[in-house]
């Protein structure tokens, strides 16, 4: 699914990723944990092709394709989805308009039949309900004035509508109340299948009680410094990151 080799990246002349390796197989769930500022969000942004993030060495492929050579929208068409840690507000563009534009673009690029407006709205309303957002959020400007938790649910809604192959969730669980955490977990678990993989960036072992990961990694100093199974998350919860510092 996703294969990252020796990835180096910088932001504004600052080296952030320093030789990161990661391989995610189809159907797997990987959790990435790590101290603040270690480069977790940077990894997501680099994979999504955010302007200003410069890859200086290494490779990343998604489904065998060179991800780094593609335009941002082409990566989405291929199947990449990044749920932002800080989703962007777009006043003036309604959520429904935005979701439909995204779904149409992705389906078109994947050679799928277009969904008619009525069918789409029905589906959007259903998913809106699943992520426990009021229908009125479909009419509001994209993320405009949404609370932190509502923005995260909106990211989840986009993910569910776009049916990506690789979902990177950057702290989608941060700032969520207990019920919302369940909503996220339910959403992810419902989407898990043999052809879809997840990378969950999180600070809390708690999420992993609801979404059982196949692998847990620690990202520190721009590299994966330790990998293990779900017990690693428990160990981190107990010991923090200090004991790993030598490795970083």
């Amino acid at each position: 699914m996703l294969k990252i080799d020796n990835l180096h990246a910088r932001v504004e002349d600052k080296d952030i990723l320093k030789g990161l390796n990661l391989a995610v197989q189809p159907g797997e769930v990987h959790a990435i944990m790590g101290p603040n500022g270690s480069g977790k969000s940077t990894l997501g942004h680099v994979l999504a092709g955010r302007p200003g993030y410069q890859v200086t060495a290494g490779t990343a492929t998604l489904l065998g394709q060179d991800l780094l050579a593609l335009e941002t929208e082409e990566r989405a068409h291929l199947g990449l989805f990044l749920a932002f840690q800080y989703p962007v507000e777009i006043p003036g563009v309604s959520n429904m308009e935005f979701l439909k534009a995204a779904v149409d673009a992705v389906r078109e690029a994947r050679g799928l039949e277009a969904i008619d407006s009525v069918g789409f709205m029905k589906k959007a309303r259903e998913i809106c309900k699943q992520v426990d957002l009021d229908q009125s959020f479909l009419k509001r400007g994209v993320n405009e004035g949404f609370s932190g938790g509502e923005k995260k649910r909106n990211e989840l809604m986009q993910m569910m509508l776009l049916e990506p192959k690789l979902c990177i969730l950057d702290e989608t669980d941060s700032g969520l109340d207990i019920d919302a955490l369940q909503v996220v977990a339910k959403g992810v678990n419902a989407m898990r299948d043999a052809g879809r993989s997840f990378v969950l960036v999180t600070h809390y072992q708690r999420l992993l009680n609801y979404i059982e990961p196949d692998h847990v990694h620690v990202l520190a100093g721009g590299r994966i410094v330790k990998s293990g199974d779900k017990s690693l998350a428990l160990e981190l919860e107990e010991k923090g990151y200090a004991w790993l510092e030598d490795a970083a």
């Binding site: 929208e73 989405a76 777009i90 006043p91 003036g92 309604s94 308009e97 935005f98 673009a105």
Partner: protein, 438 residues
């Protein structure tokens, strides 16, 4: 003043009803006694008047050009159409209910002429608005709308002023006088449009809106002229106690548009809502100068203008709020936001506050920004291609103002027209236009 408008003044004297003679004289006295504005004139600092450097001529009376490819809203209710300054009975439709009269100056009887003479120019300070004096000096015909006290006119009244481009250096003078009686209500829509190709037409359009106590007027002024069109004109409104003016303004770009909007709150409890959009691109120039006068206490005004400036176009927005010493408890808000979609695009925006009362609430802000790269990126991460994302964000920037238009038929005309304006490929607007399906 140079004589580039000499012929239209002479022509007006011949073709206008004789009772306009002293209005001509009044206009000429100001116009001819004033120098042409230059870059040194404060109100014209950023405006390039070079398009006026030619001799203009008035339309021949009786010409009835056929216009193709001119687009303006199709509204229910009364419609008056003028082409190259001439009234077109064949294209017009008068269906006014009781309580309102709509007539041309040329057809006014002596009582009506007297009413027009009494009110025309009352709301306009020609010393400050020089081109309004030119309007008086070249006035051949105009439109008078009188709404009786207490009358509620449901259907919009639509005035359409078109130019054909079939004559070069054509000068067209338009005048509208609206008298809203006490507690009356109406919707007035003005559309200016042209065939996008052909010669330069210089339109000088002045609208006067006089609102008596408790009157309410929804007013839209749509400048849809494109290409070589030059328009210098404006709207001058006076609001008596508890009157409400809801103004919506749109200017697509063309060679030059300079629109002055003046709203005077003269009676307590008056309220004005003024929204506007300007969209110059190419080499076009749009200049809005607005002035909200608060002369009495307890009035409110809320003004929001947004511009999207593309290519090497330029825009000017000057928003003046003048709160007189006695105008306590005034609430005045002004917001102007500009989106530049190219590095060559230019905007000069200036809020100008003159506040002489101390117990007032006054908020103002002006911003100039490029399209936000982070927002564009966010859309693209969802698979939306860059060009479509740009169209969505451009339309999104003005969407709120389009939605604020009260007249449903105007809104329904504007939405697709504006969405398409941002897209080279019509496919890129499909999501904006689908949005109304619910």
């Amino acid at each position: 003043m140079s004589d580039f408008m000499q012929q239209p003044q002479e022509a007006a004297a011949k073709t206008a009803p004789p009772w306009l003679a002293d209005i001509h004289a009044r206009g000429q006295a100001v116009w001819q006694g004033s120098p042409m504005p230059t870059r040194k004139t404060e109100d014209w600092k950023y405006t390039n008047l070079q398009p006026l450097q030619q001799k203009f001529i008035a339309p021949l009376s009786g010409s009835a050009p056929q216009l193709s490819n001119v687009s303006y809203p199709d509204l229910p209710g009364s419609l008056l159409v003028f082409t190259d300054g001439g009234y077109r009975e064949d294209l017009s439709r008068l269906e006014l209910p009781e309580g309102a009269r709509l007539l041309r100056f040329a057809e006014a009887d002596s009582d009506q002429a007297e009413a027009i003479r009494e009110h025309l120019g009352r709301a306009v300070n020609t010393g400050r608005h020089l081109f309004a004096s030119l309007n008086e000096a070249t006035l051949a015909d105009g439109v008078f709308l009188q709404v009786d006290p207490g009358a509620v006119i449901e259907q919009p009244i639509h005035l359409v002023w078109l130019t054909s481009g079939q004559v070069d250096a054509l000068s067209v003078t338009q005048r509208l006088l609206v008298r809203m009686g006490a507690n009356s209500q109406a919707t007035v829509v003005e559309s200016f449009a042209n065939t996008a190709t052909g010669g330069t037409a210089f339109t000088n359009g002045i609208s006067e809106l006089l609102l008596a106590d408790g009157a309410r007027l929804d007013h839209c002024r749509l400048h849809l002229e494109q290409g070589e069109a030059v328009h210098i004109g404006g709207v001058h409104a006076t609001l008596a106690a508890n009157a409400t003016l809801n103004g919506f303004h749109l200017a697509l770009g063309s060679r030059l548009k300079r629109i002055d909007l003046v709203v005077e709150h003269r009676g307590q409890g008056a309220h004005c809502e003024l929204n506007g959009i300007y969209l110059p691109r190419g080499e076009e120039q749009v200049d809005y100068h607005t002035c909200i006068e608060h002369a009495v206490p307890h009035c409110t005004s809320n003004e929001t203008f947004r511009g999207i400036i593309g290519d090497s176009a330029s825009a000017i927005f000057n928003g003046r709020i003048h709160i007189h010493p006695q105008a306590q408890k005034t609430r005045a808000e002004l917001s102007n936001k500009n989106l530049l979609t190219s590095h060559q695009a230019e905007v000069n925006t200036k809020p100008e506050l003159e506040i002489y009362a101390d117990d007032v609430q006054c908020a103002h802000g002006a911003t100039v920004a490029q399209m936000d790269p982070a927002t564009l990126h966010y859309l693209r991460t969802r698979g939306v291609p860059r060009d479509e994302a740009e169209v969505m964000l451009s339309y999104g920037f003005i969407n709120e103002l389009v939605e604020s238009v009260h007249c449903a038929a105007v809104h329904d005309f504007l939405k697709p027209m504006l969405a398409r304006r941002f897209a080279r490929n019509p496919k890129l607007t499909r999501h904006i236009l689908e949005d109304g399906d619910e």
